[in-house]
Amino acid sequence: MLIQEIIFYAFSIIMIVAATLVISVRNPVYSVLYLILTFFSAAALWILLGAEFLAIILVLVYVGAVMVLFLFVLMMLNVDLSRVNEGFVKNLPLGLLVAAIMLAEILVVLWYKGRTGIEDFPIPEPLSADYSNTAEIGQRLFTQYLWPFELAGIVLLVAIVAAIALTMRKREGVKTQSIPKQVQADKRDRVKLIDMPVEGVEDK
């Protein structure tokens, strides 16, 4: 049990520190890298909970694909942070005031109710040795959660349709290569072999 606690606290601390750094470092590339570290720590915590499938998917989707594109765009755009941060100091007092009021409100609510309700739930039983998170998620996804699962697919479809509708346009006068034409090119159309005598070499 001890080692589990060590791992839990280690990754939790890394995660919180990294998440704080995401919003506080000046260089946006470092921000993205800290975000990746945050995702990794979250994945580690999930593995600790026995949800290895979710953890690996988190790494695959967010670290492996989404954040790569983030980095890609950042490196291409060369964001000037000094302009983004303009007015930060000026608006800071107002922001802090609003945040303080919100915090006070939340604390009042918590103090007024004062019960977390966690005692209503029994401590979860440890997972059995042959528990397979991957198989369990597969089963649930295609039976109990079929409707939400399909809906999530439609949301992605809409994202594709929207992205294409917003970006694809045919501009006049742009020269592009026609791949089918290139593929259909034949050597007989392009290359002509001509018999000609070679200079300086005598016929045998």
Partner: protein, 479 residues
Amino acid sequence: MNWQDLQVAAPEIIVLLMACGLLILDLFVSEQRRGLIHLVSLLILALAAIITLRGIPAIDAVTPVMAFGDTYVRDSMGDLLKVFAYLLMAMMLIYSRHYLRQFDMYRSEYYALALFALLGAMVLISAASMITIYLGLELMSLSLYAMVALKRDDKVATEAAMKYFILGSMASGMLLYGMSMIYGATGSLQIHEISQAIANQGSDNMILLLGLVFTVVALAFKFGLVPFHMWVPDVYQGAPAPVTLFISSVPKLAAFAMTIRLLQDSLGGLHGDWQGMLLMVGVLSIALGNLAALAQSNIKRMLAYSTIAHMGFVMLGLLSGTPEGYGASMFYVITYALMSAGAFGVVIFMSSKGIEADNLDDYKGLNQRNPWFAAMFALLLLSLAGVPVLVGFFAKWLVLQAVVNVGMTWLALVAVIFSVIGAFYYLRVIKLMYFDKADIETPISAPSDFRAVLTGNALLVLVLGIFSGPLIAACMAAF
């Protein structure tokens, strides 16, 4: 999943399949024959309406039917809202064809995105689980963001889409945050199980209460209620007029259903807590919406502030917490959507040759240019203002009655005072139309289907006002 699940969810499944089919059909339709896409879209709506009205063959009871592992529910409230959503969407499509042609936006993506937005609204209306609520909301919002941005060479539209997207995503984040807290407190995502858990363990749970706060904030964002209303005027003004029409109609029905599912069906046990929250946003919305609308010179912005005020009225009915109040709110939201669709229909009607007639001055002397539609617009505006005999009056009346019945007479008084103030800006437009001289004297024309639907829309406001009984009864029967 079994055969019955598919039957229960048939309207959604039909809309989904046909929308996907529409995307494929587009590949084979030349630009000159886009009208086919338009017709097919209307056909889809008609088909969905027939299936929805026919009910579920195997089950003839009107009680809620659950499907897909209790993540989907079909009940009379949902069916009624869906039928009106089809109707509003059909009107929107007919209005928009004229506009899309003139603004060079006549592409089938518009239709596909609109159908997906409708699907999102339907899913949201029929959601019985937190996950379905969230996914339906995202499906609807994502399509709407794209539709607002569809006029992509227009700076104002792009900016509006950006604002809508960022604030909408924030609201979705809030909703998810609230949902996760509610899940943490009750141990379930299913709406009826949440309500069961609250009944069992009591409502004095602080996590639950925090979750409720986040949920109400997200709902207020989606409705566009004060103080979460900042996106409404900008988006209404920046979006193409038919999209503004759409945003002000179908999503409001869905947002109403979402509120019922979240606040009444699952968190009904916390009524005492959320009543105060809705009271705050409702009163603020009525006050600020009506006052700010007075200062507008852009008709789309003016109608946006009027939406805020009207949604405040919807909150009044909801906060009463009685079936009567819910029914009144539902009647209000349906009739508001119809009136708003008509009003934006006139805005589309006035727009021509790539210029939107969104300044109040553009409506000067409309009576001289087209007396019939000046009269129709006047009818719609009077109904929005809540003049008796028209449907807008009965909507306000029912809501106020529900509030008075739970002993909040002062609230009804405040609402009435502000709507009297609000009547001024509607009447100002009527004054412009009838008593001012037109700057441009050219008559306005539109295709015959457009004129027919707009006339029908405006007369519906009158007819529903005079014969309001059946719709009110249907709304009341839903709870």
